[in-house]
Subunit: 236 residues, 2 copies
């Protein structure tokens, strides 16, 4: 365990948003996800809007929070739609919002649109932490820095690397860049492709303060010294 | 041209929803898409919510319609969020709505949820045609038939095969199945992976009444007897 850099299993577990976003996931799958999160002490479960109320009921009375994704995974819904989706998630019991930024506006240099889109969600989230998914696989380093600064200016609590549905996931280089681009009070969530302890450890060493993964149970098993175990629920 | 089965270029063009949904598409890209649609006489442009107002302005005064995607591409947003997204698209000028069904509910056999989700969108669309994307690559043949019947029961105008973001796109077998599963008054839209005239022709022969593709300009060029031309705008 010493090589992982995590002093205890809970040190790792409390960093994890235990994630299930595949489109065919059922209510039963969400129930399993929530029981796993409670059993291992994960920070949260991260689910799609249609499952927020189910997850909220399933984790009630435990410290496990519910993250809801918004504008996911393409980020090109209208800002009005994203805000309404956020409001519905909040009503259903979401504690945190993981929203995908407007990548087309960012690519075109229309930073005002990127910022106002995030600010709309932050406003509707009403104090709940908002994580802004930059989908770094599509961005230049310059665009990543601009997006991170827009997120901070708009009141986001976290910048987050990836949806897990794009061409690539979190990299140590991107986490390092994002950590440097935002102030110490802003979190950095590494997500996408984190499937073993070595990767999780490297992301935290690079400055990640939250990890999004669907391989959470496998990570905990590996940390406990067992053989890496395949997660019960496959990702998309 | 006789081998294609299309009597004229316009016969093909009027079947096509000219599509650009990649998350990094810019306002300029949407402008090109709309100009291409007007020039070739495509039925519509199919865009994400953030671009509906832009597209509506760009095709004004032409016969080209605007399709807006909803709950795209995973279908697991809450029904409240999908309905709000539809309302925003309608306000921005959408003529048709292409929505992804709740695949998790379908997989779990919760057909009431699948149907009510579609009905919510049909209601908000207020007479505008709603196409229900089944994302057939994830479904058994039985699930495809059940979903098609739910779509018809909920008042959808079309059943549609694919988002283009899943594991697979339209197949002749699926178009044939859907054509048999719905009444003659319900349209069948084939989408995903239609990149050449042979495929487009096969889909129409199998019963497709609409084609969704981002390779529309290449198809027209091929029909005109030119060399297959790479589309100006790449798909995701």
């Amino acid at each position: 365990m010493s090589t992982s850099g995590f002093k205890s299993a809970l040190d790792l577990a409390r960093l994890i948003d235990h994630t299930l976003l595949k489109p065919t996931a059922s209510q039963a799958d969400i129930g399993i996800l929530c029981r796993e999160a409670i059993a291992h002490g994960f920070w949260s479960v991260c689910v799609a809007g249609t499952w927020v109320a189910t997850a909220h009921m399933a984790v009630r009375g435990s410290p496990v929070k519910v993250c809801a994704v918004v504008g996911f995974p393409l980020g090109n819904a209208s800002s009005t739609a994203k805000a309404a989706e956020t409001a519905a998630a909040v009503k259903d019991g979401a504690d945190e919002i993981d929203m995908v930024i407007n990548l087309g506006a960012l690519k075109a240099g229309d930073i005002d649109t990127v910022t106002s889109d995030i600010r709309n969600i932050v406003t509707v989230a009403a104090g709940r932490p908002v994580k802004t998914i930059l989908e770094t696989c599509f961005l230049t380093d310059g665009e990543k820095r601009i997006a991170a600064k827009a997120a901070v200016a708009a009141g986001a609590a976290f910048v987050k690397t990836s949806t897990g549905f794009g061409r690539g996931g979190a990299t140590v280089a991107d986490v390092t860049l994002l950590r440097q681009a935002v102030d110490a009070g802003t979190g950095v969530k590494a997500s996408g492709g984190i499937r073993d302890l070595a990767t999780a450890t490297a992301m935290v060493a690079a400055g990640a303060t939250r990890l999004g993964t669907s391989a959470s149970v496998a990570l905990m098993s590996e940390l406990a010294g067992g053989r890496p175990k395949t997660a019960d629920i496959k990702s998309y």
